[in-house]
């Protein structure tokens, strides 16, 4: 339990520092809000259209592929840790595991989903 206590403390301190800084800035910085200042900054020109602009589909694809490979990595870490002790068969198992997923990557590549356009 104690090692996670340190992590918790790191998180707490990690939060205190920025909060402190921003708090100090918030206390000592002047606050004179006026409508022009609070407009969104668009290189000085009028903001055009709704800021909730139509979203590009590509983002979802990349997030999706990342998710799949992320989970794969999760699976591979324990395998990697124990690879030294285990024999060749573990290596082959891992390779099969990776190949199957690389096949997924090849599929998306072939379908042309990875292009940004």
């Amino acid at each position: 339990m104690n090692e996670w206590l340190y992590v918790l403390l790191f998180i707490v301190v990690g939060l205190i520092i920025p909060v402190g800084a921003i708090g100090v800035a918030w206390i000592i910085s002047p606050k004179k809000p006026n409508p022009i200042k609070s407009e969104t900054y668009e290189c000085g020109i009028e903001t055009v259209g709704d800021s909730w602009v139509q979203f590009k589909a590509q983002y979802y694809i990349f997030a999706l592929v990342f998710l799949v490979f992320d989970v794969e990595a999760v699976f591979l870490f324990p395998w990697a840790v124990k690879l030294g002790q285990l024999g060749l068969y573990a290596v082959i198992e891992g390779i099969i595991f990776i190949l199957i997923l690389v096949a997924g990557l090849v599929y998306t590549w072939r379908k042309g989903m990875l292009e940004w356009a």
């Binding site: 589909a57 979802y60 999706l64 998710l67 799949v68 992320d70 989970v71 999760v74 699976f75």
Partner: protein
């Protein structure tokens, strides 16, 4: 010491909140959120039983990881479906998606 039942009640609570989300939210994505919660509650249960059972038996943790994979797959496909429904019918409200009836 924290008895096992506390963890089980925690996961039960998480499960029922997820259930409520699934049953009542109109937006399809919100339903998927509910499902995520339910899956998490299952994971908590698994981890608890692993910790409180024989620790050397890794079944609990292996199952938890498999549940991670399943949850990931489920989210991917679920959201893909919702998005394709949205692109075709311009709606994500669950009640509007009711073609599958007699």
């Amino acid at each position: 010491m924290v008895p096992l039942s506390w963890y089980l009640i925690l996961s039960a609570g998480l499960f029922s909140i997820g259930l409520f989300g699934v049953l009542t939210r109109r937006n399809a994505v919100a339903i998927l959120l509910g499902v995520e919660l339910m899956l998490n509650s299952v994971n908590v249960n698994l981890a608890a039983f692993w910790r409180y059972g024989d620790v050397t038996q890794m079944a609990g943790q292996v199952f938890a990881i498999i549940v991670f994979a399943v949850a990931a797959a489920e989210v991917a496909v679920g959201l893909a479906l919702v998005i394709s429904v949205y692109r075709k019918r311009n709606t994500v409200i669950a009640d509007d998606i009711d073609l599958m009836k007699w």
